[in-house]
């Protein structure tokens, strides 16, 4: 066990935990005021729900003994054998419990990311059922494939901190979700104007801050790789912010604060799979590309007429995909990409992109269809008009 690494990852775990309430604010500011609490709650509740599921069964499915490259065994069920020492820990420098909880924070935020796609219209009960099942049948296998000794990692796919596991998976599930649940009432006719952008900007700031734990912490050690990941993360966010503003200006608009926040998040998403594998200068290109590509991503929904309320597909799906491919282009630290003489890596990355999208989209779609047919996904039309705050939670965000 390494004391420096242990203390660093303890702090990183707390940083990643902080991202989920940050995401809640980021999303809630973009919702309408009658849905502010409903939107916050859809993210915040994951801190309760997923934390428990992860400790009981999610962790062992992701990191238990490999079964056929697809899923982990039940040897760590209910944290059996997951203790204060490094025994059986996938990271032999960290207490096994610490590795488990660090991974658990990633599991918490991932289903919270999906909630942006069906914001303002999903039943709370159905959200709990969907998220619980999704962690078990989508997230845990994905996590196993990439980090738990499964086939994707064995094939050599590079995913430093969760481009596939967290962002592409949530983006693909988000696409399935907004197709299955349908558009919000009045979408395309009424104005869906964000009710509190300062809240969204605060949320984006918290996300950026927490992302240092997410990416630098994914080095799983207090070392140079962590420092590199910290710097690449920061520069990619910075470049994403500027890239988005630039393309907003070219597209005929003014630089918006929501654009700055969205661009920073796009840059952060894009650098996530690459953070430990690329140089700081490559990170600027990846982040800048992320800002521009994700701006294009948010325009897709009006073109294809689906209501991805808070742009999960456009930002996390496309940003994660760009990041995964960019890792295959720019990797030069501890791995080589196309630009460093290894075209094979880009091919492996493309394969991981296709399999991640395919698996996560199909399984999420089936889950959602089954829940829709049994308990129903959507609140009633009246409840949607009243807003989720009163209809689903019997409270209001603002009293005046």
């Amino acid at each position: 066990m390494n004391a420096a690494d242990t203390s660093f990852i303890l702090i990183c775990s707390a940083l990643v935990m902080f991202m989920t309430p940050g995401l809640a604010l980021f999303y809630a500011g973009m919702a309408r005021s009658k849905n502010v609490l409903g939107t916050i709650m859809q993210s915040f509740v994951m801190l309760g729900l997923v934390s428990i599921i992860w400790a009981v069964i999610g962790y062992t499915l992701a990191f238990g003994d490999d079964i056929g490259g697809f899923i982990g065994g039940m040897n760590f069920f209910a944290l059996d054998g997951v203790g204060m020492d490094t025994l059986n820990s996938p990271a032999d420098n960290l207490p096994h419990l610490l590795f488990m909880v660090f991974q658990g924070m990633f599991a918490v935020i991932t289903p919270a990311l999906i909630t942006g796609a069906f914001a303002e219209r999903m039943k709370f009960k159905s959200l709990l059922i969907f998220s619980s099942l999704w962690i078990i049948v989508v997230y845990a296998p994905m996590c196993h494939w990439v980090w738990g000794g499964g086939w994707m990692g064995e094939r050599g796919a590079l995913d430093f901190a969760g481009g596939a596991v967290v962002h592409m998976s949530s983006g693909a599930a988000a696409l399935a979700a907004c197709l299955v649940i349908g558009k919000r009432k009045g979408y395309g006719k009424q104005s869906f104007i964000p009710h509190n952008l300062p809240m969204t900007l605060l949320g984006a700031g918290i996300l950026w801050f927490g992302w240092f734990g997410f990416n630098a912490g994914s080095a799983l050690a207090a070392n140079g790789v962590a420092a590199n990941a910290f710097v690449t993360t920061h520069l990619a966010a910075a470049a994403g912010l500027l890239g988005w503003l630039l393309v907003e200006g070219i597209h005929g608009g003014k630089p918006t604060t929501l654009g700055a926040a969205s661009g920073a998040v796009a840059g952060l998403v894009a650098i996530t799979p690459a953070a430990g594998f690329v140089t700081p200068m490559a990170a600027i290109l990846i982040g800048f590309g992320g800002g521009i590509i994700c701006y294009g991503g948010i325009l897709l929904k009006s073109k294809f007429k689906y209501d991805d309320s808070l742009d999960v597909v456009g930002i996390h799906g496309l940003g994660g995909t760009w990041g995964a491919l960019a890792t295959g282009l720019f990797a030069s630290v501890g791995a080589e990409g196309l630009f460093y003489g290894n075209p094979e890596q880009l091919w492996i990355q493309l394969e991981s992109v296709i399999c991640t999208w395919g698996y996560c989209f199909v399984v999420s779609w089936i889950l959602l269809k089954v829940i829709d047919a049994t308990v129903g996904l959507r609140v009633t039309e009246d409840e949607e008009i009243i807003g989720l705050d009163v209809a689903e939670h019997s409270e209001a965000g603002y009293q005046l």
Binding site: M30, S191, F192, I193, T256, G259, L299, D311
Partner: protein
Amino acid sequence: MKKIEIIVRPFKIDDVKEAIADLGLRGMTVTEVKGFGRQGGHKEVYRGAEYQVDFIAKTKIEIVVEAERVPEVLEAVRNSALTGKVGDGKIFVTPVEEVVRIRTGETGPDAI
């Protein structure tokens, strides 16, 4: 007695308030309101999606005065709220039947 409802640009509210106070009138009710007239709305853009916002923020002041004071109030308000561009607002004057001061029970002009 007359009630004067004044709708002005929000940034003019302090000027109008002082102009009314300078006439020796005490008390007013102020509300933040939205609406539209000839000025028309404006465009807002959120993540590339354009929205036409028709209702513009204005500030409404309500005061009640004795009938003979109406002309000087109108004059003072116009002078203080004027920019000369479309959207300066409107003033409505309506009769008031009765006024009661809740604390003392006084009625009529004494209660204003």
